[in-house]
Symmetry: C2
Subunit: 201 residues, 2 copies
Amino acid sequence: MLKLHDLSLSGNCYKVRLFLALLGIECEFIAVDFMAGQHKTPEYLALNPRGEIPILQDEDFTLCDSQAILVYLASKYASEAWLPQDAVGLGQVMQWLSTAANEIARGPNDARLAKKFGYKLDLATAQKKAHHILPIVDQHLSQQNWLTLGRPTIADIACFPYIALAPEGEVMLEEYGAINQWIDRIKQLPNFVGMPGIDAA
Amino acid sequence: MLKLHDLSLSGNCYKVRLFLALLGIECEFIAVDFMAGQHKTPEYLALNPRGEIPILQDEDFTLCDSQAILVYLASKYASEAWLPQDAVGLGQVMQWLSTAANEIARGPNDARLAKKFGYKLDLATAQKKAHHILPIVDQHLSQQNWLTLGRPTIADIACFPYIALAPEGEVMLEEYGAINQWIDRIKQLPNFVGMPGIDAA
């Protein structure tokens, strides 16, 4: 069975939990004692020298990084609906995975880390970056239901958690109507699961 | 013909230029006047609302983000040697693309932006992050010639520029023997091209 080294409050871990749930794939979730620094112990550094979670184990294959895990799971266990193999489709999904890793990570994600968890990050800068990328995403979603390809893909799964959790970094979403509709649309996907801060519909 | 909206000093643009050179693909390079903010003009925001470069145009298809462009070019124009389609290989390459977008971007890349270009980023923090990820990469490369799959892939192309440019952020590489050998190995690839700060071998 798949094993995920996991933290309930992590939006990156939640990306993986959500996608597994949507695919109906069983997985053993192993809670990492993040506060005690368990992810920095020799045992965990052997799994991921970067000292980060989530970490997926699929038999003897180990993979780190939420975006890479989404790509792996889609490629191995899902249909091409979630991650196409053609260059144009793959490139478009990849562009949004990068938006999750760059603009969304440095915006709403960093704001939440600073506000909710006391990370030494500049809250105002992160909030400003959040309000730079969110109107771009909102404008984009005002013209289509999903981030790319006209259907839910791992692009949506990668970008959803830290956008939906933005209010925890005092980045309010009221003004972003198309984003709110997209959040509701994701919550309507069969087998959707929430996390602390993201209620199921 | 392909068109790349490009900046000679950008390591992200260079990733694309280098990969195109290695593949022997012709491309029209369109220099963006970055200092004048040309990438933030309405014309450019129509191509990429995020206001970033590089931007690739392949006939009527437009794609942003250096990592996404590498994936697209590999998928459309290269053999699977550069980007495999199987889940394990794809996941492993993707993990290193994420390392480029996360640890390398926040480490040596941010240090260079602060030191060389005066970006308002904390130089000491970026240098510290650089010296967190570089020993991990060095240890990894002490056991293998390439980042993954035992051959050059777009993982190497994505991680190479900002590691090789690290000294421009006063992140010195002398102590990282395996990284230096890997840099030399990349420079030996047929059709390798450099950029300001990265000499051809």
